[in-house]
């Protein structure tokens, strides 16, 4: 459903742009189109899980590069795992957040095919995870808070990734992140799939955009494993309980960041403002904790993350 509406909205937006650029601007027609767009956007009120997966993967959805440009200042990119490779699917570096030096790390997706090939569609290999860990340990050394942005279809299931230790790279991140002595905030901005997402997600505060999704596996993968049929992914979306609201109810995430009706791509500026506000709120709480308390707080959070569903004999 959302796909058709969204495509119609895009069409109207293009039409409006075209009219605006004509010599004699047809204001009346623009008004009519804007009304139409408004009505379409209003139809996006009650989105189901499948709709949200569509929005979470939208190619115009804000990406880590956008968040860095709009929320942080003075960004210095750091490349490489210092072990032999640079993995473009993890993007990160040092930046200022409201004057405070922080380390920013996230999955990177491109704006077009060429960019996407360069960053492997946001699917890291072990080198990407090792680079993320290198940046995190450095942040810990210099006492910088860490902010991660999660948006990945999953860790890359390739031959080279396996050969170079995909498993141990992810496991090491999970283990080492749990004990970091600086504040860690993770924001799930798009799709958070599998251990490939969690590997930069062991945070004191886990935030999630309203239309982002976070799950054990992609819905297609889930349908393949359970029913040997990837075409049943829409059904899997419902089954998996992967929306921000579901995860909030489970106690897996700490807060939901609102998005404009119809999805983040329709009003990115509004999204940057909301994300900024939420990061700032979490950081304010966390900077009050000392290094040991920060590690303990994070440990406890994940130790008890399933406590609402822990049935005792």
């Amino acid at each position: 459903m959302i796909k058709e509406i969204d495509e119609k909205i895009t069409e109207i937006e293009l039409e409006i742009e075209k009219l605006k650029n004509e010599e004699i601007v047809d204001e009346a027609q623009i008004y009519v189109l804007k009304r139409q767009k408004h009505d379409l956007v209003r139809m996006c009120k009650d989105l189901d899980a499948h709709d949200k997966v569509y929005l979470a993967r939208h190619k115009k959805r804000p990406k880590i590069t956008d968040y860095i440009d709009n929320i942080f200042e003075d960004f210095f990119e750091q490349k490489g795992d210092a072990l032999g490779k640079e993995d473009g699917s993890i993007y990160g570096g040092i930046a200022l957040y409201k004057g405070l030096p922080v380390t920013v790390i996230g999955h990177r997706k491109g704006n077009d095919l060429q960019e996407n090939i360069k960053c492997n569609f946001g699917m890291p290999g072990p080198e990407g995870y090792r680079k993320a860990l290198r940046l995190m340990k450095q942040a810990e050394k210099f006492g910088r808070p860490i902010i991660t942005f999660i948006d990945t279809p999953g860790a890359y299931p390739g031959l080279e990734a396996e050969t170079n230790g995909q498993s141990i790279a992810i496991a090491t991140n999970l283990a080492k992140m749990s004990a970091l002595k600086v504040p860690v905030i993770a924001v799930v901005t798009g799709e958070g799939s599998s251990g490939g997402a969690l590997a930069i997600g062991v945070a004191n505060s886990v935030l999630m955009l309203e239309n982002a999704v976070y799950s054990i596996l992609s819905p297609e993968g889930y349908a393949t494993i359970l029913w040997k049929d990837s075409s049943r992914s829409a059904e899997a979306c419902d089954m998996m309980k992967l929306t921000a609201k579901d995860l909030y109810n489970y106690g897996v995430i700490d807060d939901i960041i609102p998005e404009p009706l119809g999805g983040a791509h329709l009003n990115p500026k509004n999204v940057y403002k909301n994300v900024d506000k939420h990061i700032s709120k979490e950081l304010e709480k966390l900077v009050k904790l000392n290094p040991d308390e920060l590690a303990k707080h994070r440990y406890k959070k994940f130790r008890n993350i399933d406590s609402n569903y822990m049935n005792l004999l």
């Binding site: 860790a155 890359y156 299931p157 390739g158 031959l159 990734a161 396996e162 050969t163 170079n164 230790g165 995909q166 498993s167 141990i168 992810i170 496991a171 090491t172 999970l174 283990a175 080492k176 749990s178 004990a179 599998s194 251990g195 969690l198 590997a199 997600g201 062991v202 976070y214 799950s215 054990i216 596996l217 993968g221 889930y222 494993i225 359970l226 089954m239 998996m240 309980k241 992967l242 579901d246 995860l247 489970y250 897996v252 994070r298 440990y299 994940f302 130790r303 993350i305 399933d306 569903y309 822990m310 049935n311 005792l312 004999l313």
Partner: protein, 297 residues
């Protein structure tokens, strides 16, 4: 240099002495059974195609007598073959079934598996002695929903790690798992973080963790506690990896080379200390425990 703080007591007595109340009193001894009609039945080794009576394979630690192919072995039997005189004490873990996704027929499935396997879940945790050295021993079973890790498995593993940490005992985990348990959704994924965090705490406290990778160890288990060992061993021929071979073949659009992701491949690429066959496992573990029983300086 950090010195592992381990309390390893070499004792003459065969009986495991434990004072902690979470440990129940139950010891089983491996006795030589007479062959049942089922065990008399013939079976073919999938590797060398040789025909054997099931009992002949069973009596050889579930290993093919001619080619050394390692068959699946039940968790409890693995422990019995490993520990001194077959004595061990199960760790109590009071966590029961939960169905966070309201997955249809899930509870029935678990109940039927419990009846079939005699296990309460896909992992068995206990304390036993190997050549006199006490250790916490955790064994996963691929016979129980492919050894997948949901809330109960994650919790049992975490409690075993915490027990080893509290008692300053070495920890040995035999992994066998297809990964995170699909039926429990995101909370299964979170078990990766929970177990890895507990393992890091154990690690920072100087605990010794020996990981033994058995067939298969993939997905969420290989990408969490399975690959965090101080020492990593593997049984011969085990499939070890993050993504399954079929998924990789689909991704790269070609067949994978022979032996890809197997124990031997993993050792060649630097992820496994040694490949140890089942008949050598006890003595190898005893050696590692012995080498860690005294401080380095």
């Amino acid at each position: 240099m950090k010195i592992p703080n381990l309390r390893l007591l070499k004792r003459k007595s065969n009986q495991v002495i434990l004072t902690d109340s979470v440990v129940s009193d139950m010891s089983v001894k491996e006795e030589k059974p007479s062959a049942t009609p089922v065990e008399e039945a013939m079976t073919q080794c999938p590797k060398c195609k040789q025909e054997y009576r099931k009992i002949d394979i069973k009596e050889n630690m579930n290993v093919c007598p001619s080619c050394g192919h390692h068959f699946v072995i039940s968790a409890e039997r693995r422990v019995r073959l490993l520990v001194d005189n077959g004595f061990y004490k199960p760790l109590k873990c009071k966590v029961a079934f939960s169905n966070p996704l309201d997955y249809p027929d899930y509870e029935e499935k678990i109940v039927s598996l419990q009846e079939k396997t005699g296990m309460d879940e896909a992992v068995f945790t206990c304390v036993g002695a190997i050549d006199g050295y006490d250790a916490v021993i955790v064994v996963m079973s691929s016979k129980f929903l492919m050894g997948s890790m949901g809330i109960v498995v994650g919790e049992k593993v975490t409690q075993a790690i915490e027990y080893a940490d509290r008692k300053k005992l070495p920890l040995i985990i035999f992994t066998a798992s297809g990964g995170a348990r699909m039926q429990e959704g995101i909370l299964s994924l979170m078990q990766m973080a929970k177990t890895s965090a507990a393992m890091e705490k154990f690690n920072l406290n100087g605990g010794l963790y020996i990981s033994v990778l058995t067939h298969p160890t993939t997905g969420g288990v290989s990408a969490s506690f399975a690959t965090l060992g101080d020492i990593t061993l593997a049984e011969p021929g085990a499939l070890i990896g993050f993504a399954g071979p079929r998924v990789i073949e689909q991704t790269i659009g070609q067949k994978l080379p022979e032996g890809f992701q197997r124990s031997e491949f993993q050792m060649e690429h630097g992820f496994v200390d040694q490949i140890v066959s089942r008949d050598k496992m006890r003595e190898t573990l005893a050696q590692i425990l012995r080498l860690h029983s005294k401080k380095g300086r």
